[in-house]
Protein backbone atom coordinates (compact mmCIF):
# COMPACT_ATOMS: atom_id res chain seq x y z
CA UNK A 1 0.00 0.00 0.00
CA UNK A 2 2.87 2.34 0.93
CA UNK A 3 4.53 1.70 -2.44
CA UNK A 4 1.35 2.61 -4.28
CA UNK A 5 1.05 5.92 -2.39
CA UNK A 6 4.71 6.80 -3.12
CA UNK A 7 4.21 5.98 -6.83
CA UNK A 8 1.04 8.11 -6.96
CA UNK A 9 2.73 11.03 -5.24
CA UNK A 10 5.75 10.75 -7.57
CA UNK A 11 3.48 10.71 -10.61
CA UNK A 12 1.60 13.72 -9.24
CA UNK A 13 4.87 15.57 -8.57
CA UNK A 14 6.06 14.89 -12.12
CA UNK A 15 2.70 15.97 -13.54
CA UNK A 16 2.74 19.34 -11.80
CA UNK A 17 6.44 19.90 -12.40
CA UNK A 18 7.62 19.68 -8.78
CA UNK A 19 10.20 17.00 -9.42
CA UNK A 20 13.84 17.98 -10.03
CA UNK A 21 16.03 17.27 -13.01
CA UNK A 22 17.09 13.74 -13.83
CA UNK A 23 20.80 13.20 -13.32
CA UNK A 24 22.88 10.50 -14.96
CA UNK A 25 25.43 9.23 -12.50
CA UNK A 26 28.60 7.19 -12.27
CA UNK A 27 30.79 6.25 -9.33
CA UNK A 28 32.99 9.06 -7.93
CA UNK A 29 36.07 6.98 -8.93
CA UNK A 30 34.96 6.65 -12.55
CA UNK A 31 37.14 8.18 -15.28
CA UNK A 32 34.00 9.39 -17.07
CA UNK A 33 33.72 13.14 -16.50
CA UNK A 34 30.93 14.12 -18.84
CA UNK A 35 28.92 12.79 -21.70
CA UNK A 36 26.80 14.14 -24.56
CA UNK A 37 23.12 13.39 -25.03
CA UNK A 38 23.95 11.57 -28.26
CA UNK A 39 26.49 9.33 -26.48
CA UNK A 40 23.99 8.66 -23.70
CA UNK A 41 21.38 7.62 -26.25
CA UNK A 42 23.78 5.22 -27.94
CA UNK A 43 24.88 3.72 -24.62
CA UNK A 44 21.28 3.07 -23.54
CA UNK A 45 20.50 1.57 -26.96
CA UNK A 46 23.68 -0.55 -26.62
CA UNK A 47 25.06 0.85 -29.86
CA UNK A 48 28.07 2.22 -28.03
CA UNK A 49 29.84 -0.03 -25.54
CA UNK A 50 32.83 2.00 -24.34
CA UNK A 51 33.14 5.47 -22.87
CA UNK A 52 36.68 6.80 -22.58
CA UNK A 53 38.13 3.30 -22.85
CA UNK A 54 35.88 1.94 -20.08
CA UNK A 55 33.23 -0.69 -20.85
CA UNK A 56 29.89 0.98 -20.07
CA UNK A 57 27.12 -0.81 -18.13
CA UNK A 58 23.87 1.17 -18.44
CA UNK A 59 21.20 0.64 -15.80
CA UNK A 60 17.47 1.25 -16.15
CA UNK A 61 14.61 1.70 -13.70
CA UNK A 62 11.61 -0.61 -14.27
CA UNK A 63 9.36 -0.06 -17.30
CA UNK A 64 6.55 2.25 -16.25
CA UNK A 65 8.68 4.17 -13.75
CA UNK A 66 7.97 7.90 -14.34
CA UNK A 67 11.69 8.78 -14.49
CA UNK A 68 12.34 6.05 -17.04
CA UNK A 69 9.43 7.29 -19.13
CA UNK A 70 11.06 10.72 -19.31
CA UNK A 71 14.40 9.11 -20.25
CA UNK A 72 12.74 7.07 -23.02
CA UNK A 73 11.00 10.15 -24.37
CA UNK A 74 13.84 12.67 -24.09
CA UNK A 75 17.00 10.58 -24.40
CA UNK A 76 16.02 7.58 -26.51
CA UNK A 77 13.28 9.54 -28.30
CA UNK A 78 11.25 6.41 -28.95
CA UNK A 79 7.82 5.31 -27.81
CA UNK A 80 7.25 1.90 -26.24
CA UNK A 81 6.37 0.19 -29.54
CA UNK A 82 9.45 1.53 -31.29
CA UNK A 83 11.60 0.36 -28.40
CA UNK A 84 10.06 -3.12 -28.46
CA UNK A 85 10.85 -3.46 -32.19
CA UNK A 86 14.33 -2.10 -31.61
CA UNK A 87 15.02 -4.64 -28.84
CA UNK A 88 13.60 -7.48 -30.99
CA UNK A 89 16.45 -6.87 -33.38
CA UNK A 90 19.02 -6.56 -30.64
CA UNK A 91 17.77 -9.76 -28.96
CA UNK A 92 18.25 -11.75 -32.15
CA UNK A 93 21.62 -10.12 -32.61
CA UNK A 94 22.91 -11.20 -29.21
CA UNK A 95 22.68 -7.88 -27.38
CA UNK A 96 21.04 -7.63 -23.97
CA UNK A 97 19.13 -4.47 -23.01
CA UNK A 98 20.35 -2.46 -20.00
CA UNK A 99 20.08 -4.09 -16.59
CA UNK A 100 16.81 -3.21 -14.82
CA UNK A 101 16.96 -2.39 -11.11
CA UNK A 102 13.94 -2.01 -8.87
CA UNK A 103 14.56 1.44 -7.35
CA UNK A 104 16.72 4.54 -7.37
CA UNK A 105 18.39 3.23 -4.21
CA UNK A 106 19.33 0.02 -6.02
CA UNK A 107 20.64 2.04 -8.99
CA UNK A 108 22.89 4.07 -6.70
CA UNK A 109 24.24 0.93 -5.00
CA UNK A 110 24.94 -0.70 -8.36
CA UNK A 111 26.71 2.38 -9.72
CA UNK A 112 28.93 2.54 -6.62
CA UNK A 113 29.94 -1.11 -6.95
CA UNK A 114 30.25 -1.75 -10.70
CA UNK A 115 33.01 -0.07 -12.67
CA UNK A 116 31.60 1.53 -15.80
CA UNK A 117 28.00 1.49 -14.52
CA UNK A 118 25.82 4.43 -15.57
CA UNK A 119 22.41 5.05 -14.00
CA UNK A 120 19.90 7.82 -13.53
CA UNK A 121 18.02 9.17 -10.54
CA UNK A 122 16.00 12.22 -9.56
CA UNK A 123 18.47 14.95 -8.58
CA UNK A 124 16.74 15.25 -5.19
CA UNK A 125 17.99 11.75 -4.40
CA UNK A 126 21.58 12.38 -5.44
CA UNK A 127 24.28 11.53 -2.90
CA UNK A 128 27.76 12.98 -2.50
CA UNK A 129 29.74 9.89 -3.47
CA UNK A 130 28.21 9.86 -6.96
CA UNK A 131 29.34 11.90 -9.96
CA UNK A 132 26.88 13.57 -12.32
CA UNK A 133 27.85 13.16 -15.97
CA UNK A 134 24.66 14.52 -17.56
CA UNK A 135 21.72 16.56 -16.34
CA UNK A 136 18.37 16.11 -18.11
CA UNK A 137 15.64 18.72 -17.76
CA UNK A 138 12.22 17.14 -17.37
Amino acid sequence: MGGVIVALLTALAVAVGWAGDIVFIVSKDSDIEGITLSELRKIYLREKEFVGGQYAVPVNLPAGNPIRKVVERKVLRMDREELELYWNRKYLDGTEPPVVLSSEKAVKEFVRKVKGAIGYVDEDNLEEDLKVIYRLKR
Binding site: F50, W87, N88, L92, G94
Partner: protein
Protein backbone atom coordinates in the same frame (compact mmCIF):
# COMPACT_ATOMS: atom_id res chain seq x y z
CA UNK B 1 25.15 -32.16 -34.12
CA UNK B 2 22.52 -33.65 -31.80
CA UNK B 3 25.03 -33.76 -28.94
CA UNK B 4 25.87 -30.11 -29.63
CA UNK B 5 22.18 -29.28 -29.49
CA UNK B 6 21.90 -31.10 -26.16
CA UNK B 7 25.02 -29.46 -24.73
CA UNK B 8 24.04 -25.91 -25.55
CA UNK B 9 20.30 -26.04 -25.19
CA UNK B 10 19.10 -28.61 -22.68
CA UNK B 11 22.04 -28.98 -20.36
CA UNK B 12 21.75 -25.45 -18.90
CA UNK B 13 18.11 -26.15 -18.02
CA UNK B 14 19.10 -29.22 -16.05
CA UNK B 15 22.17 -27.75 -14.36
CA UNK B 16 20.96 -24.39 -13.11
CA UNK B 17 18.41 -23.82 -10.38
CA UNK B 18 15.04 -22.18 -11.03
CA UNK B 19 16.06 -19.04 -9.08
CA UNK B 20 18.84 -18.25 -11.52
CA UNK B 21 16.62 -18.65 -14.59
CA UNK B 22 14.33 -15.87 -15.77
CA UNK B 23 12.10 -16.17 -18.83
CA UNK B 24 10.58 -13.22 -20.69
CA UNK B 25 8.37 -13.98 -23.73
CA UNK B 26 10.17 -12.99 -26.89
CA UNK B 27 13.36 -12.24 -25.00
CA UNK B 28 14.38 -15.77 -24.10
CA UNK B 29 15.51 -17.51 -20.95
CA UNK B 30 18.17 -15.63 -19.05
CA UNK B 31 20.69 -17.97 -17.36
CA UNK B 32 22.32 -15.65 -14.87
CA UNK B 33 25.24 -17.85 -13.63
CA UNK B 34 26.75 -17.99 -17.13
CA UNK B 35 25.47 -14.54 -18.18
CA UNK B 36 23.77 -16.08 -21.17
CA UNK B 37 20.41 -16.10 -22.91
CA UNK B 38 18.64 -19.03 -24.52
CA UNK B 39 15.88 -18.35 -27.03
CA UNK B 40 14.76 -18.73 -30.61
CA UNK B 41 12.12 -18.13 -33.22
CA UNK B 42 9.91 -19.96 -35.68
CA UNK B 43 8.20 -19.05 -38.95
CA UNK B 44 5.34 -20.52 -40.94
CA UNK B 45 4.87 -19.16 -44.45
CA UNK B 46 2.58 -19.59 -47.45
CA UNK B 47 3.16 -18.42 -51.02
CA UNK B 48 0.94 -18.63 -54.09
CA UNK B 49 1.12 -17.52 -57.70
CA UNK B 50 -0.43 -18.88 -60.92
CA UNK B 51 2.50 -21.29 -61.35
CA UNK B 52 3.62 -21.99 -57.80
CA UNK B 53 2.17 -22.80 -54.39
CA UNK B 54 4.08 -23.61 -51.22
CA UNK B 55 3.59 -23.92 -47.51
CA UNK B 56 6.62 -24.05 -45.23
CA UNK B 57 7.38 -24.52 -41.59
CA UNK B 58 10.81 -22.98 -41.76
CA UNK B 59 13.28 -21.07 -39.65
CA UNK B 60 12.88 -23.09 -36.47
CA UNK B 61 15.91 -21.68 -34.72
CA UNK B 62 17.39 -22.05 -31.28
CA UNK B 63 19.99 -19.63 -30.10
CA UNK B 64 22.22 -19.23 -27.10
CA UNK B 65 24.45 -16.26 -26.57
CA UNK B 66 26.24 -14.60 -23.77
CA UNK B 67 28.61 -12.02 -22.50
CA UNK B 68 30.38 -13.97 -19.75
CA UNK B 69 33.40 -11.66 -19.62
CA UNK B 70 33.54 -7.90 -20.07
CA UNK B 71 35.35 -8.11 -23.40
CA UNK B 72 34.20 -11.49 -24.64
CA UNK B 73 30.90 -12.57 -26.21
CA UNK B 74 29.72 -15.72 -27.93
CA UNK B 75 26.74 -16.52 -30.14
CA UNK B 76 25.39 -19.82 -31.43
CA UNK B 77 22.26 -20.25 -33.53
CA UNK B 78 21.13 -23.68 -34.68
CA UNK B 79 18.51 -23.81 -37.36
CA UNK B 80 16.17 -26.30 -38.93
CA UNK B 81 15.47 -24.58 -42.22
CA UNK B 82 12.52 -25.79 -44.34
CA UNK B 83 11.68 -28.30 -41.61
CA UNK B 84 8.42 -29.23 -43.29
CA UNK B 85 7.30 -27.98 -46.66
CA UNK B 86 4.69 -28.65 -49.30
CA UNK B 87 5.72 -27.25 -52.68
CA UNK B 88 3.31 -27.68 -55.58
CA UNK B 89 1.81 -30.66 -53.74
CA UNK B 90 5.15 -32.35 -52.92
CA UNK B 91 5.69 -32.90 -49.21
CA UNK B 92 9.19 -32.73 -47.78
CA UNK B 93 10.51 -33.22 -44.26
CA UNK B 94 14.07 -32.16 -43.55
CA UNK B 95 15.95 -33.26 -40.46
CA UNK B 96 19.29 -31.51 -40.97
CA UNK B 97 20.41 -28.96 -38.42
CA UNK B 98 22.57 -26.10 -39.68
CA UNK B 99 24.62 -23.56 -37.82
CA UNK B 100 23.09 -20.30 -38.94
CA UNK B 101 25.50 -18.27 -36.84
CA UNK B 102 28.33 -19.38 -34.58
CA UNK B 103 31.02 -16.97 -33.48
CA UNK B 104 33.05 -15.49 -30.69
CA UNK B 105 33.67 -11.80 -30.30
CA UNK B 106 36.45 -9.80 -28.63
CA UNK B 107 35.75 -6.19 -27.73
CA UNK B 108 39.11 -4.48 -27.81
CA UNK B 109 37.77 -0.93 -27.95
CA UNK B 110 34.82 1.01 -29.33
CA UNK B 111 36.62 1.29 -32.65
CA UNK B 112 38.03 -2.22 -32.84
CA UNK B 113 35.96 -5.32 -32.22
CA UNK B 114 36.85 -8.70 -33.63
CA UNK B 115 34.46 -11.51 -34.56
CA UNK B 116 35.54 -15.00 -35.65
CA UNK B 117 33.30 -17.79 -36.93
CA UNK B 118 30.18 -17.82 -39.08
CA UNK B 119 28.27 -14.55 -39.04
CA UNK B 120 25.76 -12.60 -41.12
CA UNK B 121 27.66 -10.73 -43.83
CA UNK B 122 27.46 -7.10 -42.65
CA UNK B 123 26.41 -5.56 -45.96
CA UNK B 124 23.40 -3.35 -46.62
CA UNK B 125 20.26 -2.65 -44.63
CA UNK B 126 18.29 -5.80 -45.35
CA UNK B 127 20.77 -8.64 -44.95
CA UNK B 128 21.59 -7.97 -41.27
CA UNK B 129 17.85 -8.23 -40.42
CA UNK B 130 16.99 -11.13 -42.74
CA UNK B 131 15.26 -13.12 -39.95
CA UNK B 132 11.56 -13.27 -40.79
CA UNK B 133 10.20 -11.86 -37.53
CA UNK B 134 12.39 -8.75 -37.91
CA UNK B 135 11.61 -8.02 -41.55
CA UNK B 136 8.75 -5.83 -42.66
CA UNK B 137 7.78 -8.29 -45.42
CA UNK B 138 8.05 -12.05 -45.91
CA UNK B 139 9.92 -11.62 -49.18
CA UNK B 140 13.40 -10.15 -49.55
CA UNK B 141 14.48 -7.58 -52.12
CA UNK B 142 16.98 -8.97 -54.63
CA UNK B 143 19.69 -6.56 -53.44
CA UNK B 144 19.99 -8.87 -50.42
CA UNK B 145 20.11 -12.21 -52.21
CA UNK B 146 21.97 -11.82 -55.54
CA UNK B 147 25.11 -9.80 -54.81
CA UNK B 148 27.02 -11.28 -51.87
CA UNK B 149 26.87 -14.35 -49.63
CA UNK B 150 24.38 -13.95 -46.77
CA UNK B 151 26.81 -15.60 -44.38
CA UNK B 152 30.59 -15.46 -44.10
CA UNK B 153 32.78 -17.91 -42.19
CA UNK B 154 35.92 -16.05 -41.30
CA UNK B 155 36.91 -12.86 -39.55
CA UNK B 156 35.11 -9.59 -39.11
CA UNK B 157 36.56 -6.38 -37.71
CA UNK B 158 34.04 -3.70 -36.84
CA UNK B 159 33.45 -0.70 -34.64
CA UNK B 160 32.34 2.87 -34.17
CA UNK B 161 34.61 5.69 -35.26
CA UNK B 162 34.56 9.41 -34.36
CA UNK B 163 32.14 11.76 -36.14
CA UNK B 164 29.35 9.14 -36.16
CA UNK B 165 31.07 6.82 -38.62
CA UNK B 166 31.01 3.05 -38.19
CA UNK B 167 32.52 0.27 -40.25
CA UNK B 168 32.68 -3.49 -40.82
CA UNK B 169 35.34 -5.40 -42.73
CA UNK B 170 35.16 -9.14 -43.31
CA UNK B 171 37.14 -11.89 -44.99
CA UNK B 172 36.93 -15.64 -45.59
CA UNK B 173 39.57 -17.93 -47.05
CA UNK B 174 38.37 -21.39 -46.03
CA UNK B 175 35.45 -23.81 -46.15
CA UNK B 176 32.35 -22.34 -44.59
CA UNK B 177 30.56 -23.69 -41.53
CA UNK B 178 27.28 -25.23 -42.83
CA UNK B 179 28.43 -23.94 -46.21
CA UNK B 180 25.56 -25.56 -48.08
CA UNK B 181 23.21 -23.34 -46.08
CA UNK B 182 24.02 -20.07 -47.86
CA UNK B 183 22.84 -18.34 -51.02
CA UNK B 184 26.27 -18.82 -52.69
CA UNK B 185 28.76 -21.66 -52.27
CA UNK B 186 31.93 -19.71 -51.70
CA UNK B 187 35.25 -20.09 -49.89
CA UNK B 188 36.90 -16.78 -50.69
CA UNK B 189 35.23 -13.52 -49.68
CA UNK B 190 36.47 -10.06 -48.81
CA UNK B 191 34.50 -6.87 -48.32
CA UNK B 192 33.36 -4.09 -46.08
CA UNK B 193 30.89 -1.33 -45.38
CA UNK B 194 31.31 2.21 -44.11
CA UNK B 195 28.31 3.90 -42.50
CA UNK B 196 27.66 7.48 -41.44
CA UNK B 197 24.90 8.86 -39.23
CA UNK B 198 23.68 12.29 -40.27
CA UNK B 199 21.81 13.29 -37.16
CA UNK B 200 19.54 10.87 -35.32
CA UNK B 201 17.20 10.10 -38.20
CA UNK B 202 19.37 9.55 -41.24
CA UNK B 203 21.98 6.89 -41.98
CA UNK B 204 23.88 6.23 -45.18
CA UNK B 205 26.19 3.37 -46.09
CA UNK B 206 28.71 2.50 -48.81
CA UNK B 207 29.92 -1.05 -49.36
CA UNK B 208 32.01 -3.15 -51.66
CA UNK B 209 33.68 -6.50 -51.93
CA UNK B 210 34.69 -9.50 -53.96
CA UNK B 211 33.98 -13.23 -53.74
CA UNK B 212 34.47 -16.43 -55.69
CA UNK B 213 31.57 -18.78 -56.40
CA UNK B 214 32.41 -22.50 -56.52
CA UNK B 215 29.55 -23.69 -58.70
CA UNK B 216 29.45 -22.35 -61.39
CA UNK B 217 33.00 -21.03 -61.07
CA UNK B 218 32.56 -17.28 -61.13
CA UNK B 219 33.92 -14.16 -59.50
CA UNK B 220 31.71 -11.30 -58.41
CA UNK B 221 32.91 -7.83 -57.50
CA UNK B 222 30.13 -5.84 -55.87
CA UNK B 223 29.51 -2.23 -54.85
CA UNK B 224 26.51 -0.76 -53.13
CA UNK B 225 24.99 2.11 -51.27
CA UNK B 226 22.04 2.45 -48.91
CA UNK B 227 20.09 5.09 -47.06
CA UNK B 228 17.74 4.87 -44.09
CA UNK B 229 15.52 7.67 -42.79
CA UNK B 230 13.50 7.03 -39.67
CA UNK B 231 11.13 9.29 -37.73
CA UNK B 232 8.27 8.27 -35.42
CA UNK B 233 5.72 6.18 -37.37
CA UNK B 234 7.64 6.39 -40.66
CA UNK B 235 10.65 4.61 -42.13
CA UNK B 236 12.02 5.22 -45.62
CA UNK B 237 14.86 3.14 -47.00
CA UNK B 238 16.60 2.43 -50.28
CA UNK B 239 19.47 0.23 -51.42
CA UNK B 240 21.36 -0.05 -54.68
CA UNK B 241 23.76 -2.88 -55.59
CA UNK B 242 25.89 -3.37 -58.69
CA UNK B 243 28.12 -6.36 -59.42
CA UNK B 244 30.56 -7.32 -62.14
CA UNK B 245 30.49 -11.05 -62.94
CA UNK B 246 33.37 -12.95 -64.52
CA UNK B 247 33.30 -16.63 -65.37
CA UNK B 248 36.61 -18.16 -64.34
CA UNK B 249 37.64 -19.86 -67.59
CA UNK B 250 36.50 -17.15 -69.98
CA UNK B 251 38.83 -14.37 -71.21
CA UNK B 252 39.14 -11.23 -69.07
CA UNK B 253 37.19 -9.25 -71.64
CA UNK B 254 34.12 -11.49 -71.19
CA UNK B 255 32.31 -10.04 -68.24
CA UNK B 256 28.76 -9.24 -67.38
CA UNK B 257 26.94 -7.25 -64.74
CA UNK B 258 23.90 -7.33 -62.53
CA UNK B 259 22.12 -4.32 -61.04
CA UNK B 260 19.38 -4.01 -58.47
CA UNK B 261 17.77 -1.38 -56.32
CA UNK B 262 14.71 -0.90 -54.18
CA UNK B 263 12.96 1.92 -52.37
CA UNK B 264 10.65 1.15 -49.47
CA UNK B 265 8.29 3.06 -47.24
CA UNK B 266 6.84 1.75 -43.97
CA UNK B 267 4.12 3.65 -42.13
CA UNK B 268 2.63 2.79 -38.73
CA UNK B 269 -1.07 3.20 -39.44
CA UNK B 270 -2.09 2.48 -35.86
CA UNK B 271 -0.63 0.54 -32.93
CA UNK B 272 0.93 -2.73 -34.11
CA UNK B 273 -0.14 -2.23 -37.73
CA UNK B 274 2.25 -1.21 -40.50
CA UNK B 275 1.62 -0.58 -44.20
CA UNK B 276 4.55 -1.29 -46.54
CA UNK B 277 5.17 -0.23 -50.13
CA UNK B 278 8.33 -1.32 -51.94
CA UNK B 279 9.43 -0.93 -55.51
CA UNK B 280 12.29 -3.15 -56.65
CA UNK B 281 14.29 -3.50 -59.84
CA UNK B 282 16.73 -6.26 -60.87
CA UNK B 283 18.62 -6.90 -64.08
CA UNK B 284 21.22 -9.59 -64.79
CA UNK B 285 22.83 -9.18 -68.19
CA UNK B 286 24.39 -12.67 -68.17
CA UNK B 287 21.17 -14.66 -67.95
CA UNK B 288 18.74 -11.97 -69.12
CA UNK B 289 16.76 -11.95 -65.88
CA UNK B 290 14.91 -8.66 -65.62
CA UNK B 291 12.36 -7.93 -62.89
CA UNK B 292 10.34 -4.97 -61.74
CA UNK B 293 8.40 -5.75 -58.59
CA UNK B 294 5.91 -3.60 -56.72
CA UNK B 295 5.23 -5.03 -53.26
CA UNK B 296 2.24 -3.96 -51.16
CA UNK B 297 2.27 -5.36 -47.66
CA UNK B 298 0.76 -5.26 -44.20
CA UNK B 299 2.58 -6.22 -41.01
CA UNK B 300 0.48 -6.86 -37.90
CA UNK B 301 2.19 -7.22 -34.52
CA UNK B 302 -0.41 -7.98 -31.86
CA UNK B 303 2.42 -8.36 -29.34
CA UNK B 304 6.04 -7.39 -29.81
CA UNK B 305 7.34 -10.95 -30.19
CA UNK B 306 5.06 -12.00 -33.05
CA UNK B 307 4.51 -10.80 -36.59
CA UNK B 308 1.74 -11.68 -39.01
CA UNK B 309 2.42 -10.49 -42.54
CA UNK B 310 0.58 -10.44 -45.83
CA UNK B 311 1.88 -9.04 -49.09
CA UNK B 312 1.19 -9.02 -52.77
CA UNK B 313 3.97 -8.71 -55.34
CA UNK B 314 2.86 -7.20 -58.61
CA UNK B 315 5.03 -8.13 -61.59
CA UNK B 316 4.84 -7.36 -65.30
CA UNK B 317 4.15 -11.01 -66.11
CA UNK B 318 0.86 -11.72 -64.36
CA UNK B 319 1.69 -15.40 -63.74
CA UNK B 320 4.67 -14.32 -61.60
CA UNK B 321 2.64 -11.99 -59.38
CA UNK B 322 2.67 -13.60 -55.95
CA UNK B 323 0.70 -13.56 -52.72
CA UNK B 324 2.77 -14.25 -49.59
CA UNK B 325 1.84 -14.55 -45.95
CA UNK B 326 3.72 -15.63 -42.85
CA UNK B 327 3.49 -15.87 -39.12
CA UNK B 328 6.62 -15.67 -37.02
CA UNK B 329 7.13 -15.88 -33.32
CA UNK B 330 10.11 -15.24 -31.06
CA UNK B 331 10.42 -17.22 -27.84
Amino acid sequence: MKSLLFLFVFLPLLVFSQETLHYVPGRGLRIQPIKSTLGGYVTVSYERSDIHESFELDDLALLIYGHPLERFKYFLELELDDLYSVKNGKKRFKKRIDIERGYIEFLLSEAFKLRAGRFITPVGLWNPIHINVLKWTTSDPLTATEFFPKFTTGLEVFGNLPSDFSYSMFAQNNRGISEGYNNFLTRKVIGGELRKELGENLKIGLNGGWFEIKEPEEELTFFGTNILYRVPKLELSAELMYAIEKEKYLPETRWSYRLSYYAQGVYRVFRGNYAIVRYGFFKDKSDLRHYRILTLGWNFRPVYYTAFKVEYQLRRKKELSTFLTSFSWMF
